[in-house]
Amino acid sequence: MTKPNNAFVIQREDLHILFDVLIERGYTPVGPTVREAVIVYDELSGLEDLPEGWAEEQDAGTYSLKRRGDNALFGFNNGPHSWKNYLFPSRVKLWEGDKTEDGGFTVKSAVDTQKKFAFIGVRACDLHAIQVQDKVFLDGEYRDPIYSKRREEALVIAVNCGQAAKTCFCTSMNTGPRVSDGYDLALTEILDNDQHYFLAEPGSTSGFSLLAEIPHSEASQEAIAAARGCTKQAQEQMGRKIDISDVKEMLYRNYDNDRWDELEKRCLSCGNCTMACPTCFCSKVEDVTDLTGNHAERWREWESCFTMDFSYIHGGSVRPTTRSRYRQWLVHKLAAWLDQFGTSGCVGCGRCITWCPVGIDLTEEVRLLRNSEN
């Protein structure tokens, strides 16, 4: 085993200093915390807000918290939120305009949040999801100013998974369970008998400078091996898998498969999957006026390919059936995305499986479509 250039150990009792330093440097820490018996992402005031000792049990359409029996701070996987909730807010004002006395009008860009976020506990799949959204919002001719400002200022404190949920399949998507790049600091939590520490690997100058303020030591070979052991354990626990070898061609071939009719029967067209998915990026803009008609505002909000308005053009919606909307979602995610952005739209986080109110599982749907060909 080769020793990474920069692996250090931070003891559990020193980790709270990370929060102090972040806050001191003007960051708003955001990360996992328990609310209404669910591990959500929220602003954190310190280490004590983390879901210590909690894990979750998740499967298609179900989620519940359970005690781990130890004091792990990051001993769980994904919840209903993703970092998209912070980088690509669900509703945001773009600009406002006012009529002027001379019959003209003025337009003023809206001011976005002044907060600089430090994301605590970013998993490998979710870091890939951020990179997928980077392609959408930052690459090419048009950069999204809201996303880009929030993204540039955000600090990524990643956590390598030491366990996987029943809904996880990052190994199939080559997105985890270990982070590869794009983080400022990566932590691997190790609980070994009565030891509790973090292997810390800085990935940027900000990461190094953060580490400099937290007591740490050079990582021993044992610590590095223990961290690799965590990753192996997560790989072995991977609850789902998907064969993506020729998934694009397979989906394109099956435009008219009867399986879509089965989805017509089951899918609620509720849009939960797209809202929970960390890569889904669609939005709509709405113009509002006040009663005087002198003041107007333009707002951007999350939108979903499962709504009729989404594909409404003159004369009606071009995807009038649930069958066609589900197909649009799945085929875009796993196939057309590759053509459009050069990457899959799925990072294997499993959120759409857990948070579908009727437990529709895309890995299962791909398998059934593939099997139907034989």
Binding site: R35, E36, A37, V38, V40, G61, T62, Y63, S64, G79, P80, H81, N85, S90, R91, K265, R266, C267, L268, S269, C270, G271, N272, M275, A276, E286, D287, V288, T289, D290, L291, T292, G293, E301, W302, S304, F306, T307, M308, D309, T322, T354, W355, P357, V358, G359
Partner: protein, 260 residues
């Protein structure tokens, strides 16, 4: 200077709650009155200016022969007719009568049923006259009501989405209570508009805004049965303010049929 548009508010079989949403606008009411002449609004003032009216807001459902005629007269006097609330858009809770024989009920409830002139059904306004827009909810949401009036005044389409409550629920960051706690929720088949209030208080959606644009009630019912929701509870979920809406009524009939 063109004259201000004239507004009328009409009441049919209903509880008045939706009209009250207009009075509830308090802060904005002055701005409304600035742009519109409130010409006929009995709940607010007995001072009535004769029609025709530019905008009519209609609350309530049609349950009597008299109202069946009256709504035609309202339509004749109105350039724009917008129905507000579950009663006007779906028949309201009183559409439960559609599942029974009303004459039988009359004899149980009234000492002298011969004085009562009523129809056997409670039906939405749209079954009787052409309507220009339906604003859902039991009661309606005052922000949406202002949006509709606003859109009318500024000659634009109202920003009222016909998608599921779930989308609002996710946008406000609520963790789905059906997934996380196994709580039965009407959100996936119900139209948005309320802001997904109930799930944020750990209560399943009650379906106040009626069926969303593509309600798949059979899939939801199947899932709720697996969650262990008893049959009578399932029926009760669909048999509320919007039971008169076609897809909720069909769900009730299906559940009752499957039950037998």
């Amino acid at each position: 200077m063109t004259e201000k548009p004239k507004l009328a508010v009409w009441k049919f079989a209903s509880c008045d709650g939706c009209q009250l949403s207009l009075l509830d606008c308090e802060d904005e009411l002055l701005a409304v009155a600035d742009r519109i002449t409130i010409a006929n609004f009995m709940e607010a003032s007995s001072n009535v200016i004769d029609g025709p009216y530019d905008l009519s807001l209609v609350e309530g459902s049609i349950t009597t022969p008299h109202d069946r005629e009256r709504i035609r007269d309202v339509r004749r006097q109105s350039k724009f007719l917008i129905t507000i609330g579950a009663c006007a858009t779906a028949g309201g809770i009183q559409a439960l009568r559609n599942f029974t024989d009303t004459r039988e009920l009359l004899s149980v409830v009234y000492a002298s049923p011969e004085y009562i002139s009523t129809l056997n059904t409670s039906t939405p306004i749209s079954e009787h006259v052409k309507i220009d827009f339906e604003l859902r909810g039991c009661p309606i949401n005052k922000t949406q009501l202002l949006e509709v009036i606003n859109a009318f005044l500024n000659k634009r389409k109202p920003n009222v989405s016909p998608h599921s409550v779930c989308i609002e629920c996710k946008k406000r960051g609520t963790a789905c209570i059906m997934v996380a706690h196994g709580t039965a929720c009407m959100g996936p088949v119900t139209q948005a508009g309320c802001g997904a209030i109930c799930p944020s208080y750990n209560r399943g959606c009650y379906g106040c805004y009626g069926p969303m644009e593509a309600p798949n009630t059979s899939s939801l019912v199947k899932w709720m049965r697996n969650l262990g929701v008893p049959e009578d509870e399932l029926l009760r979920m669909f048999k509320t303010y919007n039971v008169g809406a076609e897809s909720f009524r069909c769900a009730v009939e299906r559940v009752e049929g499957e039950d037998k």
